[in-house]
Amino acid sequence: MRNVSRWYGNVVAVNDITVTIGPGVTGLLGPNGAGKSTLMHMIAGFLAPSRGELTVGGTPSWRNPGIYRTLGLVPERDSVYAFLTGAEFVTASARLHKLPDPGAAARRAIEMVEMTGAQDRKISTYSKGMRQRIRVAGSLVHDPEVLLLDEPFNGMDPRQRLHMMDLLHGLGEQGRTILFSSHILEEVERVSGTIQVMVAGRLAASGDFRAIRRLMTTRPHVFLVRTSDDRGLGATLIGRPAVTGVELTDHGLSVRASDYGTFSREIAVLTRDQGIRLRELLPEDESLESVFAYLIDTDGPRAR
């Protein structure tokens, strides 16, 4: 991808992105509205870039159905032909790909997602996680080198999520290029490999997942504390190692803590010892946007 942008009228959804995604598992992370889906659709050939050059395996994907011989797509919208059985759906996909032995290819793909037991049931009877897996089987049936998954973990329970992550991990190990998008960082804890973080249409950070993850857990947390004696508590708090900053505001104390767990424990003890009544304790920056904003600010993950 070179200098790829996409805008809708005056709204820029994807802003001048240059990136190369190689074999292995890559996560495309970012808050909702960051442009992840737009980027995914462009890579998948379902949207024309407004500007820039985008190729998959050396060929442009827009207006090029031939690209789907080497590319598989699991779209975000969970819309399948519910009246088909799992096996019928995957076999249909194999036949559309003109595979020499559609039945065998379908069986292999269904096995890969561990859906053999349920393959003869109608898709309408599947759980969300099963539908997702059968969709993955449908897009894997032609053994593509590149697999794109748009928000594959949406609506999955933790067990299904783990299973999906293991599956993606395994596919990545086989040398395939797997790109998935997600707006929840915690969702991807089990995926090793590279992460591209997108915020407001731009590529904000990219690098090793573990480094980004570490930054996330060690990042300072901001709490809003309201007590019967804000000033008194503030004076005590600033002496604690886990606290890196205290500010007295109109709404109460704004406290920056370096360690979430220690601070939560300490504040309870401190207020009790000093006879201060704790009225409110609110984490201020738990929104996804602040997490992503933090990642951009530190710029740390860029160093690979």
């Binding site: 996409r6 737009t38 949207l47 024309a48 088909l84 003109k98």
Partner: protein
């Protein structure tokens, strides 16, 4: 003409179209047609004027276009609305094969739900395979082929296919076509009537204003153009991003 890819698409399309609640919707107009014909036959068994009015005019201005509209906009349009079309399009199947298979399904289903009832109503109304019956059946078959090309095209071009299709049938064919004779030259309904009338020879009652030649040539041009446009539009099918 129909390879394996087309067969897969056609079979999924048939199951999807017949499985939706819309299937009930396109069964209603032909039912009404046959029912009204039976009632009129019982009430006026020997009156020669009503068969061409009911089976002809009502059949060709209401039943045929409405059935074609619901089916034609559903084969592609409903899948675009649901998002399941992506599963078809994320494969190397040529877009022409996608459109062609779905169009053939729409034309055949329309023939079954509009042309066959026309034949049935004609048989009941005129008491046998009269010129009128055969003419109306042929006209309705031609209409199934032509209308669906137009409606499939509209459903690829816009997500409001039913509204635009209805506007075309009611406003253009019904209203404008009635007052402006030139508009009839661009009216699938008139092409169908032209074909019907060439066999039935009942021009005044059927209100057909185009000759068979004009109907056939114009019908072929409109059908071919609509399919070409639909294929081109589907080749540039875009998914909306999360920015809007």
């Amino acid at each position: 003409m129909f390879g394996d890819q087309a067969r897969v698409i056609a079979s999924i399309t048939i199951r999807a179209t017949m499985g939706r609640k819309r299937a009930l919707l396109f069964a209603i107009p032909p039912l009404i047609l046959v029912l009204v014909t039976v009632l009129l036959k019982l009430a006026h068994p020997h009156d020669p004027s009503w068969p061409s009015q009911i089976v002809g005019i009502f059949g060709f201005t209401v039943v045929l276009p409405l059935t074609a509209l619901i089916i034609g906009t559903s084969v592609v349009g409903a899948e675009v609305d649901e998002g399941s079309i992506v599963h078809l399009l994320a494969t190397p199947v040529p877009r022409s094969v996608v459109i062609w298979s779905k169009y053939v399904v729409a034309a055949v289903l329309t023939a079954a739900f509009a042309a066959v009832p026309e034949l049935l109503a004609g048989l009941i109304a005129t008491g046998g395979l009269t010129k009128l019956t055969v003419g109306l059946f042929a006209g309705a078959l031609a209409g199934s082929v032509m209308y669906n090309a137009v409606f499939v095209m509209i459903s690829v071009l816009t997500t409001r296919a039913i509204a635009y299709g209805l506007a075309y049938v009611v406003v253009w064919e019904g209203l404008v076509g009635n007052f402006v004779s030139g508009a009839r030259l661009l009216s699938v309904g008139q092409y169908s009537l032209g074909v019907a009338n060439a066999i039935a020879h009942d021009g005044t009652a059927l209100n057909a204003s185009l000759s068979l030649g004009t109907s056939a040539v114009m019908g072929a041009i409109v059908t071919a153009a609509a399919i070409v446009i639909a294929v081109r539009a589907l080749s540039a099918f875009s998914l909306k991003g999360d920015a809007i």
